[in-house]
Amino acid sequence: MATYAHPEVLVSTDWVAEHLNDIEHVRIVESDEDVLLYETGHIPNAVKIDWVQDLQDPVIRDYISKEKFEELCASRGIANDTLVVFYGDKNNWWACYAFWVFKLFGHEKCAIMDGGRQKWIAEGRPLTRERPSFPRTTYRAKDPDLSIRAFRDEVLAHVQAGKPLIDVRTPAEYRGELVHMPDYPQEGALRAGHIPGAKNVPWSMAVREDGTFKPREELERIYLQEKGLKPDDEVITYCRIGERSSHTWFVLKYLLGFEHVKNYDGSWTEWGNLVGVPIEKGDPEATQS
């Protein structure tokens, strides 16, 4: 079986079990959809990083500043040369998001625990409620790496140039049947549909039942053979707020070795509210012929 393009970014539950006491070189980070899940029990020596409380700016729609990121790492005992291993609930959805933010600020050694929290628990491995604390570090972040982050003007130019996009939302969202729940219009978009030319591959297509990533051959069948992407394509991934699409960004960049993949974190909650930008509706088949 062919290995992934960058196999070093995935570690197994076995590997984590063997390295969880190597606190000098390795920091295990739990990032979950559910804000309380870490507190109910986590991998021994794992710290919590929450996407709302720790990674997003509380006022502006953006990630935390470089200075705040440095403080976050310092407070969790993460140094510039620490290997940070992310895991979490929901097929590592938020673990991939945290991984992406760490890459945005130039952290070199990042990995995902394949199978996430689900696999660790299914294997009957230990959880603890004890919050570890590690000596503070001095952390120096890099300026944001914009080669992995797309902004709206760039997305528009990308569409006009006919370059590929992957929409990782559900088919109903992609077709434009769902824009938001009737009671919460403030959380949705004023228009429904997808960015013209985008192909629809729901993010969870990349994982197996046990939460691990599908083997390379299967991923290639989905993204290369079925959707026609090529590894040297410039690809932009998006979803509703840019979280599910960081999972697909991870798959394309690290498991399949695409060189130029960006996550558009503005995603549908930006595009579907922009005045005058083009939108397509309907089935993938109809729009991709």
Partner: protein
């Protein structure tokens, strides 16, 4: 004083980290689903689709009192905690307790800023389902607005 007011008072006095602690306590307190509701849950009825996890939530009005029947997986402690809080605040109360409760309950409790948009969506949907069902079953207007 209504039970909800006591709950609001309790939450409003806490620091954000303490609110999370208290939520965690609630997550452990959700009463088990009565066996007669298990077939409904297993048939996929009463599910709150906006939640990222399978949340079963059903409210009824029996003899002039609100009854809440719910089941939320342990791997989803936040909706589990919020559901347990709704049980604590409204189960056994008259329907007016639900209908007069603030629409922006999650903000009033001070837990909205801890959660963020994506997470609020599921919890808001649970609360709206409670308000809608109690209004309908108590014979009030189906539209709380």
């Amino acid at each position: 004083m209504r039970k909800l007011d006591a709950l609001l008072e309790l939450f409003q006095d806490l620091e954000p980290a303490e609110r999370l602690e208290l939520l965690l306590d609630f997550a452990e307190r959700l009463p088990p689903l009565p066996p007669e509701y298990v077939p409904l849950r297993d048939a996929g009825l009463g599910m709150v689709h906006e939640c990222q996890s399978p949340v079963f939530f059903l409210s009824e009005v029996q003899d002039g009192r609100v009854r809440i029947y719910a089941d939320v997986p342990r791997e989803a402690p936040t909706p589990r905690a919020f559901t347990a809080m709704l049980v604590e605040a409204f189960d056994g109360e008259p329907p007016e307790a639900v209908l007069e409760a603030p629409e922006e309950l999650l903000y009033r409790l001070g837990i909205a800023p801890l959660l963020g948009m994506q997470r609020l969506r599921g919890l808001t949907a649970i609360y709206q389902k409670l308000r809608r069902e109690v209004a309908e079953k108590a014979g009030f207007s189906a539209n709380p607005r």
